[in-house]
Amino acid sequence: MSFLGRSLASLLSEGAVGNEVFEFFMKRIRTYDDKIHAFVPGGIADIFSAAKTGVLCGLPLALKDNIVTANLPTTASSKILEGYISPYDATVVTGLQTAGASFLGKTNLDAWAHGSSTEASDFGPTSNPYNLERVPGGSSGGSAAAVAAGLAPAAIGTETAGSIRLPAAWCGVVGLKPTYGRVSRYGIIAMGSSWDCPGPITQTVEDAALLLEVIAGQDPKDATSMSIPVEKWSKLLKTEKKLTIGYADEYFKDVDPEIMASVENAMHALEDRGHTLKKITMLDPKYAISVYMILQRAEVSSNLARYTGVRYGMNRTAFGKEAKKRIILGAFVLSSGYVDEYYKKAAKVRYLLAQDFKKAFEDVDVILAPTTPVTATRIGDADAYAFFGEMMDVLTEPAAAAGIPAISIPAGLSEAGLPIGVQLMGKHFDETTVLQIAYQLEQDLAFDRQAIFEKYA
Protein backbone atom coordinates (compact mmCIF):
# COMPACT_ATOMS: atom_id res chain seq x y z
CA MET A 1 0.00 0.00 0.00
CA SER A 2 1.33 3.43 -0.88
CA PHE A 3 1.29 6.16 1.72
CA LEU A 4 3.07 8.61 -0.57
CA GLY A 5 1.64 12.09 -0.59
CA ARG A 6 -0.79 11.40 2.23
CA SER A 7 -0.91 14.04 4.89
CA LEU A 8 -0.75 13.01 8.54
CA ALA A 9 -4.42 13.94 8.85
CA SER A 10 -5.44 11.69 5.96
CA LEU A 11 -3.26 8.81 7.22
CA LEU A 12 -4.97 9.14 10.57
CA SER A 13 -8.46 9.28 9.11
CA GLU A 14 -7.71 6.22 6.99
CA GLY A 15 -6.59 4.40 10.10
CA ALA A 16 -3.10 3.76 8.70
CA VAL A 17 -1.02 1.69 11.09
CA GLY A 18 2.19 3.24 12.45
CA ASN A 19 4.67 0.46 11.70
CA GLU A 20 3.41 -0.09 8.13
CA VAL A 21 3.71 3.61 7.40
CA PHE A 22 7.14 3.65 9.04
CA GLU A 23 8.39 0.75 6.88
CA PHE A 24 7.01 2.40 3.76
CA PHE A 25 8.94 5.63 4.36
CA MET A 26 12.03 3.81 5.58
CA LYS A 27 12.14 1.98 2.26
CA ARG A 28 11.86 5.29 0.43
CA ILE A 29 14.69 6.75 2.49
CA ARG A 30 16.89 3.74 1.63
CA THR A 31 16.01 4.11 -2.06
CA TYR A 32 16.21 7.86 -2.61
CA ASP A 33 18.21 9.51 0.14
CA ASP A 34 21.50 8.69 -1.64
CA LYS A 35 20.50 11.40 -4.11
CA ILE A 36 19.04 13.93 -1.69
CA HIS A 37 21.04 13.50 1.54
CA ALA A 38 18.17 14.75 3.64
CA PHE A 39 19.31 12.63 6.59
CA VAL A 40 22.63 12.89 8.43
CA PRO A 41 25.03 9.92 8.30
CA GLY A 42 24.22 7.49 11.11
CA GLY A 43 20.99 9.34 11.79
CA ILE A 44 18.45 6.90 10.36
CA ALA A 45 16.37 5.06 12.93
CA ASP A 46 15.82 1.67 11.23
CA ILE A 47 13.57 0.33 13.95
CA PHE A 48 9.97 1.30 14.52
CA SER A 49 9.47 2.11 18.14
CA ALA A 50 6.30 3.87 19.15
CA ALA A 51 3.05 3.10 20.76
CA LYS A 52 0.39 2.85 18.07
CA THR A 53 -1.78 5.00 20.25
CA GLY A 54 -2.08 8.69 21.00
CA VAL A 55 -3.05 11.46 18.61
CA LEU A 56 -0.39 10.39 16.11
CA CYS A 57 -0.95 6.61 16.33
CA GLY A 58 2.67 5.70 15.62
CA LEU A 59 2.99 7.86 12.48
CA PRO A 60 6.60 8.56 11.54
CA LEU A 61 8.32 11.95 11.45
CA ALA A 62 11.77 13.23 10.62
CA LEU A 63 13.58 15.40 13.16
CA LYS A 64 16.13 18.10 12.49
CA ASP A 65 19.44 16.96 13.91
CA ASN A 66 19.78 19.87 16.35
CA ILE A 67 16.96 18.39 18.43
CA VAL A 68 18.45 16.06 21.02
CA THR A 69 17.30 12.45 21.18
CA ALA A 70 18.36 9.79 23.66
CA ASN A 71 17.91 6.95 21.16
CA LEU A 72 19.61 8.45 18.13
CA PRO A 73 22.84 10.45 17.78
CA THR A 74 22.55 14.24 17.63
CA THR A 75 25.23 16.19 15.79
CA ALA A 76 23.73 19.53 14.74
CA SER A 77 25.52 18.50 11.50
CA SER A 78 28.80 19.43 13.17
CA LYS A 79 32.00 17.36 13.38
CA ILE A 80 32.28 18.43 17.00
CA LEU A 81 29.26 16.37 17.99
CA GLU A 82 29.82 13.45 15.60
CA GLY A 83 28.59 10.33 17.40
CA TYR A 84 27.19 12.26 20.37
CA ILE A 85 24.27 10.60 22.10
CA SER A 86 22.28 12.87 24.37
CA PRO A 87 21.45 11.54 27.82
CA TYR A 88 17.97 13.04 27.51
CA ASP A 89 15.26 13.87 24.98
CA ALA A 90 14.23 17.38 23.99
CA THR A 91 10.81 18.36 25.30
CA VAL A 92 9.39 18.39 21.75
CA VAL A 93 10.63 14.81 21.34
CA THR A 94 9.03 13.70 24.60
CA GLY A 95 5.81 15.44 23.60
CA LEU A 96 5.75 13.82 20.17
CA GLN A 97 6.52 10.39 21.64
CA THR A 98 3.75 10.78 24.19
CA ALA A 99 1.43 11.63 21.31
CA GLY A 100 2.50 8.39 19.62
CA ALA A 101 4.97 9.65 17.01
CA SER A 102 7.76 7.44 15.73
CA PHE A 103 10.99 8.86 14.30
CA LEU A 104 12.48 7.94 10.95
CA GLY A 105 15.71 9.72 11.67
CA LYS A 106 17.60 12.98 11.99
CA THR A 107 17.81 15.44 9.15
CA ASN A 108 20.67 17.54 7.85
CA LEU A 109 21.16 21.25 8.57
CA ASP A 110 23.83 23.88 8.20
CA ALA A 111 26.24 23.01 11.03
CA TRP A 112 24.83 24.48 14.28
CA ALA A 113 21.98 25.84 12.11
CA HIS A 114 24.35 28.55 10.84
CA GLY A 115 23.15 29.10 7.32
CA SER A 116 20.26 29.14 4.92
CA SER A 117 21.24 26.54 2.35
CA THR A 118 22.27 23.37 4.27
CA GLU A 119 25.57 23.59 2.39
CA ALA A 120 27.37 24.52 5.59
CA SER A 121 26.69 21.05 7.05
CA ASP A 122 29.97 19.40 8.11
CA PHE A 123 28.55 16.25 6.47
CA GLY A 124 27.94 17.79 3.05
CA PRO A 125 24.97 19.52 1.46
CA THR A 126 21.40 18.32 1.04
CA SER A 127 19.95 18.65 -2.46
CA ASN A 128 16.66 20.23 -3.38
CA PRO A 129 14.32 17.44 -4.54
CA TYR A 130 13.02 19.71 -7.33
CA ASN A 131 16.49 20.12 -8.77
CA LEU A 132 19.38 18.19 -7.28
CA GLU A 133 21.86 20.90 -8.28
CA ARG A 134 20.00 23.41 -6.15
CA VAL A 135 20.01 23.82 -2.38
CA PRO A 136 16.92 23.06 -0.32
CA GLY A 137 17.39 26.21 1.73
CA GLY A 138 18.23 26.06 5.37
CA SER A 139 18.97 25.63 8.00
CA SER A 140 16.18 23.02 8.27
CA GLY A 141 16.99 21.93 4.69
CA GLY A 142 17.06 18.20 5.41
CA SER A 143 13.63 18.32 7.05
CA ALA A 144 12.08 20.28 4.15
CA ALA A 145 13.73 18.11 1.48
CA ALA A 146 12.61 14.91 3.24
CA VAL A 147 8.98 16.06 3.27
CA ALA A 148 9.10 17.40 -0.30
CA ALA A 149 10.51 14.17 -1.74
CA GLY A 150 8.13 11.96 0.23
CA LEU A 151 10.84 10.48 2.47
CA ALA A 152 8.81 11.48 5.53
CA PRO A 153 5.16 12.50 5.78
CA ALA A 154 6.14 15.45 8.01
CA ALA A 155 9.10 16.77 9.97
CA ILE A 156 10.13 19.04 12.79
CA GLY A 157 12.53 21.88 12.10
CA THR A 158 13.77 24.85 14.08
CA GLU A 159 13.91 28.49 13.16
CA THR A 160 16.07 31.30 14.46
CA ALA A 161 15.37 33.68 11.57
CA GLY A 162 13.99 31.94 8.51
CA SER A 163 15.28 28.41 9.04
CA ILE A 164 11.81 26.83 8.83
CA ARG A 165 10.11 29.18 6.38
CA LEU A 166 12.91 29.55 3.83
CA PRO A 167 13.55 25.81 3.22
CA ALA A 168 9.77 25.23 3.24
CA ALA A 169 9.43 27.86 0.49
CA TRP A 170 12.32 26.51 -1.57
CA CYS A 171 11.11 22.90 -1.29
CA GLY A 172 7.40 23.51 -1.91
CA VAL A 173 6.16 22.50 1.56
CA VAL A 174 4.49 24.18 4.52
CA GLY A 175 6.68 25.60 7.30
CA LEU A 176 5.32 27.13 10.50
CA LYS A 177 7.43 29.21 12.85
CA PRO A 178 5.37 29.53 16.01
CA THR A 179 5.54 32.51 18.36
CA TYR A 180 8.77 32.58 20.37
CA GLY A 181 7.93 30.93 23.68
CA ARG A 182 5.05 28.88 22.24
CA VAL A 183 7.19 25.73 21.93
CA SER A 184 9.83 24.65 24.43
CA ARG A 185 13.47 25.12 23.45
CA TYR A 186 14.62 22.53 25.99
CA GLY A 187 16.88 20.12 24.14
CA ILE A 188 17.22 22.25 21.02
CA ILE A 189 20.94 22.82 20.52
CA ALA A 190 21.07 26.49 21.39
CA MET A 191 21.99 28.97 18.66
CA GLY A 192 20.28 32.31 19.17
CA SER A 193 18.51 31.73 22.46
CA SER A 194 16.26 34.80 22.29
CA TRP A 195 15.13 33.75 18.79
CA ASP A 196 15.16 29.92 18.53
CA CYS A 197 11.83 28.25 17.95
CA PRO A 198 11.01 24.67 16.90
CA GLY A 199 8.12 24.16 14.50
CA PRO A 200 6.53 21.81 11.97
CA ILE A 201 7.44 21.32 8.30
CA THR A 202 4.57 19.51 6.61
CA GLN A 203 2.71 18.79 3.39
CA THR A 204 -0.41 20.64 4.47
CA VAL A 205 -1.50 23.50 6.74
CA GLU A 206 -3.75 21.07 8.60
CA ASP A 207 -0.74 18.91 9.48
CA ALA A 208 1.17 21.96 10.70
CA ALA A 209 -1.78 22.74 12.97
CA LEU A 210 -1.91 19.14 14.16
CA LEU A 211 1.79 19.00 15.05
CA LEU A 212 1.69 22.42 16.71
CA GLU A 213 -1.02 21.07 19.02
CA VAL A 214 1.38 18.35 20.10
CA ILE A 215 4.56 20.39 20.55
CA ALA A 216 3.17 23.66 21.94
CA GLY A 217 2.82 24.48 25.60
CA GLN A 218 4.65 25.73 28.64
CA ASP A 219 7.58 23.66 29.83
CA PRO A 220 9.11 24.06 33.29
CA LYS A 221 12.46 23.20 31.68
CA ASP A 222 12.35 26.30 29.45
CA ALA A 223 11.71 29.45 31.44
CA THR A 224 11.01 31.39 28.23
CA SER A 225 8.12 29.11 27.26
CA MET A 226 4.81 30.70 28.10
CA SER A 227 1.60 29.69 29.75
CA ILE A 228 -0.79 30.42 26.90
CA PRO A 229 -3.62 27.97 26.17
CA VAL A 230 -2.84 25.41 23.46
CA GLU A 231 -5.68 25.36 20.97
CA LYS A 232 -7.02 22.49 18.87
CA TRP A 233 -5.78 24.37 15.82
CA SER A 234 -6.54 21.53 13.40
CA LYS A 235 -10.22 21.87 14.32
CA LEU A 236 -10.23 25.67 14.02
CA LEU A 237 -9.06 25.97 10.43
CA LYS A 238 -12.41 26.68 8.85
CA THR A 239 -13.77 30.15 9.52
CA GLU A 240 -16.15 32.52 7.84
CA LYS A 241 -14.53 35.59 9.40
CA LYS A 242 -13.62 38.38 7.01
CA LEU A 243 -10.27 39.80 7.90
CA THR A 244 -7.94 42.62 6.95
CA ILE A 245 -4.76 41.43 5.33
CA GLY A 246 -1.84 43.84 5.31
CA TYR A 247 0.90 44.06 2.70
CA ALA A 248 3.86 46.38 2.54
CA ASP A 249 5.94 47.54 -0.41
CA GLU A 250 9.03 47.25 1.78
CA TYR A 251 8.65 43.46 1.47
CA PHE A 252 8.31 43.56 -2.33
CA LYS A 253 11.52 45.42 -3.07
CA ASP A 254 14.11 43.41 -5.05
CA VAL A 255 11.84 40.38 -5.12
CA ASP A 256 12.00 38.20 -8.23
CA PRO A 257 9.09 39.06 -10.60
CA GLU A 258 7.93 35.43 -10.76
CA ILE A 259 7.64 35.37 -6.97
CA MET A 260 5.81 38.71 -7.03
CA ALA A 261 3.32 37.26 -9.52
CA SER A 262 2.56 34.47 -7.03
CA VAL A 263 2.16 36.99 -4.22
CA GLU A 264 -0.28 39.04 -6.32
CA ASN A 265 -2.16 35.88 -7.17
CA ALA A 266 -2.45 35.14 -3.44
CA MET A 267 -3.67 38.68 -2.80
CA HIS A 268 -6.40 38.32 -5.42
CA ALA A 269 -7.46 34.99 -3.95
CA LEU A 270 -7.85 36.55 -0.51
CA GLU A 271 -9.81 39.44 -1.95
CA ASP A 272 -12.07 37.03 -3.81
CA ARG A 273 -12.86 35.41 -0.48
CA GLY A 274 -14.08 38.73 0.83
CA HIS A 275 -11.07 39.70 2.89
CA THR A 276 -9.89 43.29 2.75
CA LEU A 277 -6.39 44.05 1.57
CA LYS A 278 -4.71 47.00 3.18
CA LYS A 279 -1.43 48.58 2.23
CA ILE A 280 0.70 49.34 5.24
CA THR A 281 4.14 50.85 5.74
CA MET A 282 6.72 48.79 7.56
CA LEU A 283 10.35 49.32 8.54
CA ASP A 284 12.63 48.22 5.73
CA PRO A 285 13.53 44.55 6.35
CA LYS A 286 17.18 45.41 5.61
CA TYR A 287 17.42 46.67 9.20
CA ALA A 288 16.38 43.25 10.47
CA ILE A 289 19.39 41.80 8.64
CA SER A 290 21.68 44.02 10.69
CA VAL A 291 19.85 43.36 13.94
CA TYR A 292 20.05 39.65 13.32
CA MET A 293 23.68 39.72 12.20
CA ILE A 294 24.72 41.40 15.45
CA LEU A 295 22.44 39.78 18.03
CA GLN A 296 22.62 36.28 16.60
CA ARG A 297 26.43 36.37 16.41
CA ALA A 298 26.56 37.59 20.01
CA GLU A 299 24.33 34.76 21.18
CA VAL A 300 26.29 32.24 19.10
CA SER A 301 29.61 33.29 20.62
CA SER A 302 28.13 32.65 24.04
CA ASN A 303 26.21 29.46 23.20
CA LEU A 304 29.10 27.78 21.41
CA ALA A 305 31.46 28.51 24.32
CA ARG A 306 30.22 25.30 25.96
CA TYR A 307 31.87 23.13 23.30
CA THR A 308 35.24 22.58 24.93
CA GLY A 309 35.53 18.84 24.38
CA VAL A 310 35.46 18.23 28.12
CA ARG A 311 31.94 16.98 28.75
CA TYR A 312 31.14 15.80 25.23
CA GLY A 313 32.21 16.16 21.64
CA MET A 314 35.53 17.11 20.13
CA ASN A 315 37.56 20.11 21.15
CA ARG A 316 37.26 23.55 19.56
CA THR A 317 39.73 22.84 16.75
CA ALA A 318 36.87 20.92 15.05
CA PHE A 319 34.75 24.04 14.49
CA GLY A 320 34.09 24.76 10.81
CA LYS A 321 34.81 28.06 9.07
CA GLU A 322 31.29 29.47 9.44
CA ALA A 323 31.08 28.79 13.19
CA LYS A 324 34.49 30.41 13.76
CA LYS A 325 33.46 33.45 11.74
CA ARG A 326 30.27 33.85 13.76
CA ILE A 327 31.93 33.32 17.13
CA ILE A 328 34.57 35.95 16.36
CA LEU A 329 32.06 38.52 15.14
CA GLY A 330 29.90 37.78 18.19
CA ALA A 331 32.83 38.23 20.56
CA PHE A 332 33.64 41.52 18.83
CA VAL A 333 30.14 43.05 19.02
CA LEU A 334 30.05 42.23 22.73
CA SER A 335 33.55 43.50 23.48
CA SER A 336 34.32 46.48 25.64
CA GLY A 337 34.30 49.65 23.57
CA TYR A 338 32.02 48.21 20.90
CA VAL A 339 29.09 46.81 22.83
CA ASP A 340 27.15 50.10 22.69
CA GLU A 341 27.83 50.70 19.02
CA TYR A 342 26.78 47.21 17.98
CA TYR A 343 25.02 44.98 20.49
CA LYS A 344 23.03 47.62 22.34
CA LYS A 345 22.16 49.52 19.18
CA ALA A 346 20.88 46.31 17.57
CA ALA A 347 18.81 45.46 20.66
CA LYS A 348 17.17 48.89 20.44
CA VAL A 349 16.37 48.52 16.77
CA ARG A 350 14.96 45.08 17.59
CA TYR A 351 12.57 46.83 19.95
CA LEU A 352 11.54 49.15 17.13
CA LEU A 353 11.00 46.21 14.77
CA ALA A 354 8.70 44.59 17.34
CA GLN A 355 6.85 47.89 17.84
CA ASP A 356 6.52 48.24 14.09
CA PHE A 357 4.59 44.96 13.93
CA LYS A 358 2.54 45.88 16.99
CA LYS A 359 1.48 49.10 15.29
CA ALA A 360 0.71 47.32 12.02
CA PHE A 361 -1.49 44.81 13.83
CA GLU A 362 -3.67 47.63 15.12
CA ASP A 363 -4.92 47.95 11.54
CA VAL A 364 -4.56 44.48 10.05
CA ASP A 365 -5.05 40.88 11.23
CA VAL A 366 -2.20 39.27 9.32
CA ILE A 367 0.51 40.44 6.94
CA LEU A 368 1.12 38.74 3.60
CA ALA A 369 4.57 38.80 1.97
CA PRO A 370 6.84 36.69 -0.19
CA THR A 371 8.88 34.26 1.93
CA THR A 372 12.09 34.72 -0.04
CA PRO A 373 13.39 37.24 -2.59
CA VAL A 374 14.53 34.50 -5.01
CA THR A 375 13.92 30.78 -5.60
CA ALA A 376 16.42 28.08 -4.58
CA THR A 377 20.02 28.93 -5.45
CA ARG A 378 22.59 26.58 -6.97
CA ILE A 379 24.82 24.51 -4.70
CA GLY A 380 28.00 26.58 -4.38
CA ASP A 381 26.35 29.99 -4.90
CA ALA A 382 26.46 30.76 -1.18
CA ASP A 383 30.28 30.98 -1.30
CA ALA A 384 30.05 34.23 -3.24
CA TYR A 385 28.29 35.98 -0.34
CA ALA A 386 29.85 37.27 2.89
CA PHE A 387 26.52 36.57 4.58
CA PHE A 388 24.36 34.53 2.22
CA GLY A 389 21.88 33.45 4.88
CA GLU A 390 21.02 36.96 5.94
CA MET A 391 20.44 38.11 2.36
CA MET A 392 18.16 35.16 1.59
CA ASP A 393 16.36 35.49 4.92
CA VAL A 394 15.75 39.21 4.56
CA LEU A 395 11.97 38.77 4.42
CA THR A 396 11.77 36.27 7.28
CA GLU A 397 14.10 38.04 9.73
CA PRO A 398 11.77 40.86 10.86
CA ALA A 399 9.09 38.43 12.16
CA ALA A 400 11.80 36.37 13.86
CA ALA A 401 13.25 39.49 15.50
CA ALA A 402 9.78 40.41 16.76
CA GLY A 403 9.07 36.84 17.91
CA ILE A 404 5.73 36.67 16.08
CA PRO A 405 4.29 33.56 14.38
CA ALA A 406 4.58 33.14 10.61
CA ILE A 407 3.89 30.42 8.10
CA SER A 408 5.18 29.81 4.58
CA ILE A 409 3.03 27.87 2.14
CA PRO A 410 3.78 26.87 -1.45
CA ALA A 411 2.32 29.27 -3.99
CA GLY A 412 3.48 27.90 -7.32
CA LEU A 413 6.48 26.96 -9.42
CA SER A 414 8.83 29.25 -11.29
CA GLU A 415 9.46 28.72 -15.01
CA ALA A 416 12.59 26.82 -14.02
CA GLY A 417 10.37 24.46 -12.02
CA LEU A 418 11.40 25.73 -8.58
CA PRO A 419 8.90 26.22 -5.76
CA ILE A 420 7.78 29.67 -4.64
CA GLY A 421 6.55 30.41 -1.11
CA VAL A 422 4.32 33.10 0.34
CA GLN A 423 4.20 33.83 4.04
CA LEU A 424 1.63 35.10 6.51
CA MET A 425 2.76 36.81 9.71
CA GLY A 426 0.47 37.25 12.71
CA LYS A 427 0.21 38.71 16.17
CA HIS A 428 2.03 37.20 19.13
CA PHE A 429 0.38 33.88 20.00
CA ASP A 430 -2.25 34.29 17.28
CA GLU A 431 -1.28 31.14 15.40
CA THR A 432 -5.03 30.58 14.96
CA THR A 433 -5.53 33.40 12.45
CA VAL A 434 -2.25 32.69 10.68
CA LEU A 435 -3.26 29.05 10.20
CA GLN A 436 -6.82 29.93 9.15
CA ILE A 437 -5.73 32.27 6.37
CA ALA A 438 -2.97 29.88 5.31
CA TYR A 439 -5.55 27.09 5.11
CA GLN A 440 -7.77 29.20 2.83
CA LEU A 441 -4.87 30.23 0.62
CA GLU A 442 -3.67 26.64 0.40
CA GLN A 443 -7.00 25.67 -1.15
CA ASP A 444 -7.11 28.66 -3.49
CA LEU A 445 -3.53 28.32 -4.71
CA ALA A 446 -3.89 24.55 -5.11
CA PHE A 447 -0.16 23.82 -5.33
CA ASP A 448 0.44 20.36 -6.79
CA ARG A 449 2.77 18.88 -4.19
CA GLN A 450 2.38 15.38 -5.63
CA ALA A 451 3.91 16.12 -9.04
CA ILE A 452 7.45 15.99 -7.66
CA PHE A 453 6.96 12.41 -6.49
CA GLU A 454 7.19 11.24 -10.11
CA LYS A 455 10.94 11.88 -9.85
CA TYR A 456 11.12 9.64 -6.81
CA ALA A 457 8.84 6.74 -7.60
Binding site: V291, K324, I328, A346, A402, H428
Partner: protein, 97 residues
Protein backbone atom coordinates in the same frame (compact mmCIF):
# COMPACT_ATOMS: atom_id res chain seq x y z
CA UNK B 1 33.28 52.39 11.00
CA UNK B 2 35.25 49.59 12.62
CA UNK B 3 37.46 47.27 10.71
CA UNK B 4 39.19 44.34 12.25
CA UNK B 5 42.90 43.84 11.60
CA UNK B 6 44.45 40.37 11.59
CA UNK B 7 45.79 41.21 15.07
CA UNK B 8 42.30 42.07 16.33
CA UNK B 9 41.03 38.80 14.91
CA UNK B 10 43.82 36.85 16.62
CA UNK B 11 42.98 38.53 19.92
CA UNK B 12 39.25 37.73 19.56
CA UNK B 13 40.13 34.15 18.61
CA UNK B 14 42.27 33.84 21.71
CA UNK B 15 39.46 35.18 23.90
CA UNK B 16 37.06 32.74 22.23
CA UNK B 17 39.49 29.84 22.69
CA UNK B 18 39.68 29.25 18.93
CA UNK B 19 42.70 28.33 16.90
CA UNK B 20 42.65 29.96 13.49
CA UNK B 21 44.26 28.60 10.36
CA UNK B 22 46.38 30.86 8.17
CA UNK B 23 43.46 30.89 5.71
CA UNK B 24 41.12 32.12 8.46
CA UNK B 25 43.50 34.93 9.37
CA UNK B 26 43.76 35.92 5.73
CA UNK B 27 39.99 35.68 4.94
CA UNK B 28 38.27 36.80 8.12
CA UNK B 29 39.23 40.52 8.15
CA UNK B 30 37.72 40.98 4.71
CA UNK B 31 34.62 38.87 5.37
CA UNK B 32 33.89 40.51 8.70
CA UNK B 33 34.46 43.95 7.18
CA UNK B 34 31.57 43.24 4.82
CA UNK B 35 29.31 42.38 7.76
CA UNK B 36 30.42 45.41 9.74
CA UNK B 37 29.93 47.69 6.74
CA UNK B 38 26.43 46.33 6.22
CA UNK B 39 25.29 46.86 9.80
CA UNK B 40 26.24 50.54 9.50
CA UNK B 41 22.69 50.96 8.18
CA UNK B 42 21.45 50.86 11.78
CA UNK B 43 22.81 54.38 12.10
CA UNK B 44 19.90 55.50 9.88
CA UNK B 45 17.60 54.79 12.79
CA UNK B 46 17.25 57.19 15.69
CA UNK B 47 17.37 55.16 18.91
CA UNK B 48 17.77 57.80 21.62
CA UNK B 49 15.36 56.98 24.44
CA UNK B 50 14.47 53.65 22.82
CA UNK B 51 14.65 50.71 25.25
CA UNK B 52 16.75 47.70 24.27
CA UNK B 53 14.73 44.58 23.55
CA UNK B 54 16.43 41.41 24.67
CA UNK B 55 13.21 39.55 24.69
CA UNK B 56 10.12 39.74 22.53
CA UNK B 57 7.28 38.28 24.56
CA UNK B 58 5.80 39.37 27.85
CA UNK B 59 7.32 36.45 29.78
CA UNK B 60 8.49 37.28 33.28
CA UNK B 61 11.16 35.76 35.45
CA UNK B 62 10.23 32.29 36.58
CA UNK B 63 10.95 31.63 40.22
CA UNK B 64 11.19 28.19 41.79
CA UNK B 65 11.86 26.80 45.21
CA UNK B 66 15.47 25.83 45.65
CA UNK B 67 14.83 22.14 45.98
CA UNK B 68 16.44 19.21 44.23
CA UNK B 69 14.40 17.68 41.42
CA UNK B 70 15.78 14.20 41.03
CA UNK B 71 13.66 13.53 37.96
CA UNK B 72 15.88 15.82 35.88
CA UNK B 73 19.22 14.80 37.39
CA UNK B 74 21.79 12.78 35.48
CA UNK B 75 23.74 10.07 37.26
CA UNK B 76 27.49 10.63 37.14
CA UNK B 77 27.95 7.70 34.77
CA UNK B 78 25.36 9.17 32.38
CA UNK B 79 26.89 12.62 32.64
CA UNK B 80 30.32 11.17 31.90
CA UNK B 81 29.11 8.97 29.05
CA UNK B 82 30.19 11.34 26.27
CA UNK B 83 33.42 12.57 27.86
CA UNK B 84 36.63 11.66 26.05
CA UNK B 85 38.84 12.04 29.10
CA UNK B 86 37.60 10.96 32.51
CA UNK B 87 38.74 9.28 35.68
CA UNK B 88 36.38 7.69 38.17
CA UNK B 89 33.48 10.08 38.44
CA UNK B 90 35.47 13.11 37.24
CA UNK B 91 35.98 14.87 33.94
CA UNK B 92 39.66 15.49 33.28
CA UNK B 93 40.29 19.07 32.20
CA UNK B 94 43.35 20.96 31.09
CA UNK B 95 45.45 22.35 33.88
CA UNK B 96 44.55 26.00 34.39
CA UNK B 97 47.15 27.26 36.88
Amino acid sequence: MSHLTPDDIQKLAQLSNLELTSDDIKDLPQQLAKSLDYVENLKDIQTDNVPASHFTTSAKNVMAEDIVDESIMLTSSTALKNASNKKGSYFIVKRIL
